[in-house]
């Protein structure tokens, strides 16, 4: 009889542990889910500044062609002393996103690798110019 009670108590203890962990995991999951739902309907066309001195959190959408650089003439101004006047170009081709470096001095990096020729981007790719990092959402 005591053995049965001890086994039962043991299972109750483990079940309570499970309930606790499950509660927190579910809360974290719904928290992250809230972040997912905020993304735009058209995937892979939104660019977000994730790391920057002054532009972190800003975003823009690539509908056709967007030139990014340190010049006032660029479509998107890039506040980074390592950036060139016209640094890079995002273009939306057949629903895909393409990135081209416009002969910049310090280069453009995709996921840490310096690019030479135009590259296709997919969701989650990180584009780095100097100290600034942009992410494809």
């Amino acid at each position: 009889m005591t053995e049965f009670i001890l086994a039962l108590l043991k299972l109750i203890f483990i079940a309570l542990l499970f309930l606790f962990v499950w509660q927190i995991a579910r809360a974290i999951g719904s928290h992250l889910g809230g972040f997912e739902r905020r993304t735009k309907s058209k995937p892979g066309s939104e660019i977000v500044f994730v790391r920057s001195d002054n532009q972190a959190g800003l975003d823009f959408t690539v509908d056709d062609v967007v030139v990014v650089g340190r010049s006032d003439q660029a479509d998107i101004y890039l506040d980074d002393s390592y950036a060139s006047e016209f640094h890079l170009r995002f273009s939306s081709i057949d629903g895909g996103l393409v990135l081209q470096d416009l002969g910049s001095t310090n280069g453009t990096y995709v996921n840490g690798r310096r690019i030479g020729s135009p590259v296709g981007l997919s969701k989650g790719d990180a584009v780095q110019v100097g100290k600034t990092v942009m992410e494809v959402r």
């Binding site: 001890l6 086994a7 108590l9 043991k10 299972l11 203890f13 483990i14 309570l16 542990l17 499970f18 606790f20 962990v21 509660q23 927190i24 995991a25 809360a27 974290i28 928290h31 992250l32 994730v50 790391r51 972190a56 959190g57 390592y82 310090n106 990096y109 996921n111 840490g112 310096r114 990180a126 780095q128 100097g130 100290k131 990092v133």
Partner: protein, 431 residues
């Protein structure tokens, strides 16, 4: 999840600790009494006060970390009580002291913010170096602060205050200071480290000049740790260094170079230290050295095996057969008494803490805070992984503690401060 839910879960964790201690009492056919109440009281006081401090000084901080830490401490405390009730009462004191230091961290940063750590990075580095060499002080000399040799390693410091002798491992605090220093240093030099590079074959390296201070810091800490025979901690610090370089620059070069340096270091340690060879042997063929060096690992495996699916029940196994069960091998003891289900739940708790910490790092917009959160979470996660992996024979065993569960004052206190820092960072990022 709201702050109130956090409070409720902390209360639940305290009840779980009391329940665990009661189960041990029932299994040992002792009266249920003072220990149950005292455990509940200590858990509620420590984590409740920390919760109140978060409400006061970091109201927007993440609500997930405290309940998870509380539950880990609750399971750890029940198991330590089951192994050695005297150690459990000491552990209760350490939990209270740790929570106190966590509160002090939140209070201290409440007006100045974590940026203060960024500003005083060289003071932190000096402090870390000073703490690192403390255990090398002579064991016999007139000053009340002395080094101690325990189990062949020089990691401990004894502070003799006349009426009480306190012992601590400064290495645990050094870890936090080094991570904060690296985060500050890398945040300052990020642009230079990423942009001004030299190409060597397929790899790009930053200019050597940029690397000098960091290499000095690394060699100094590494050297002292190897000298102190604490290879687990030096591995931890080295990996944190590589991980933070990678997080700051996004360059695979550092992972490749780090892997190479690790291989060289491991080979050197293997040929230079007899105890590394013994460890490796005990890892590969523990049962052939059952009587000697493989004894601890073998008994850990036996404990996990006899735990089976749902365990023997708290207080009903024989985990005291394992050497160092309350400190390094707490996971094996828990695995025996709560079984595979219980151990997987423990792993899930660590995984959740790591994912929350990395989530804070990912969402941080300030580079210093990002690197600090990533570095702290990385050391926490790697430490858990190394010791659990050592027990289940995934890696060779390194004698380090399991955060929040193992018996051990210095480690517990350091982890309380670590969690407080993560909560503070997440608060600052949401203001």
């Amino acid at each position: 999840m709201t702050r109130n839910a956090e409070g409720a879960l902390i209360l639940a964790a305290a009840l779980m600790a009391a329940f665990g201690v009661a189960l041990v009492n029932i299994a040992g056919q002792q009266p249920i009494g003072a220990d149950v109440a005292l455990t509940f009281f200590v858990m509620v006081t420590a984590f409740g006060a920390l919760h109140a401090a978060v409400r006061r000084w970091a109201p927007k901080g993440t609500p997930y970390l405290l309940p998870l830490a509380a539950l880990l401490a609750a399971v750890g405390l029940s198991e330590i009580y089951r192994l050695n009730p005297e150690m459990a009462s000491l552990q209760k004191w350490w939990i209270l002291i740790g929570a106190g230091l966590g509160i002090l961290t939140l209070w201290g940063l409440s007006s100045v913010g974590t940026q203060i750590l960024r500003r005083y990075r060289y003071i932190m580095l000096l402090l870390a170096m000073g703490l690192l060499v403390l255990p090398l002080l002579p064991q016999q000399w007139p000053l009340p602060i002395r080094g101690l040799a325990v189990n062949g390693s020089r990691l401990w410091v004894s502070l003799d205050l006349g009426f009480i002798e306190m012992r601590f491992q400064p290495g645990e605090i050094v870890k936090l200071l080094m991570v904060a220093f690296l985060a500050s240093f890398l945040a300052e030099r990020q642009a230079a480290l990423t942009m001004r590079t030299r190409k060597v074959g397929p790899f790009e390296f930053p200019e050597p000049r940029q690397m000098i201070p960091i290499l000095v810091a690394w060699f100094a800490s590494f050297g002292v740790m190897v000298y102190q025979r604490d290879l687990g901690a030096s591995l931890l610090l080295f990996s944190a260094f590589i991980a933070m370089m990678y997080a700051a620059t996004g360059r695979n070069t550092y992972l490749v170079v780090g892997g190479g340096l690790f291989t060289i270091g491991a080979a050197a340690a293997w040929s230079a230290f007899a105890h590394v060879q013994t460890r490796l042997e005990a890892w590969l063929v523990p049962f052939e050295h059952y009587e000697t060096t493989g004894y601890q690992i073998s008994n850990g495996i036996f404990a996990l095996a006899s735990g089976s699916l749902s365990g023997t029940g708290l207080g009903l196994g024989r985990p005291s057969l394992i050497a160092f069960a309350p400190t390094d091998f707490i996971f094996a003891a828990v695995g025996e008494e709560l079984g595979l289900v219980g151990s997987v739940l423990i792993l899930a708790m660590y995984a959740l803490i790591i994912s929350v910490g990395m989530g804070i790092a990912l969402r941080s917009r300030d580079l210093f805070r990002k690197l600090l959160a990533a570095g702290l979470t990385f050391t926490f996660g790697l430490q858990s992984l190394l010791i659990i992996g050592g027990i289940v024979r995934l890696f060779p065993l390194t004698g380090i503690t399991l955060p929040f569960m193992s018996y051990g004052g210095s480690s517990l206190v350091a982890n309380f401060v670590l969690i407080a820092l993560l909560i503070r960072i997440s608060h600052e990022e949401r203001v």
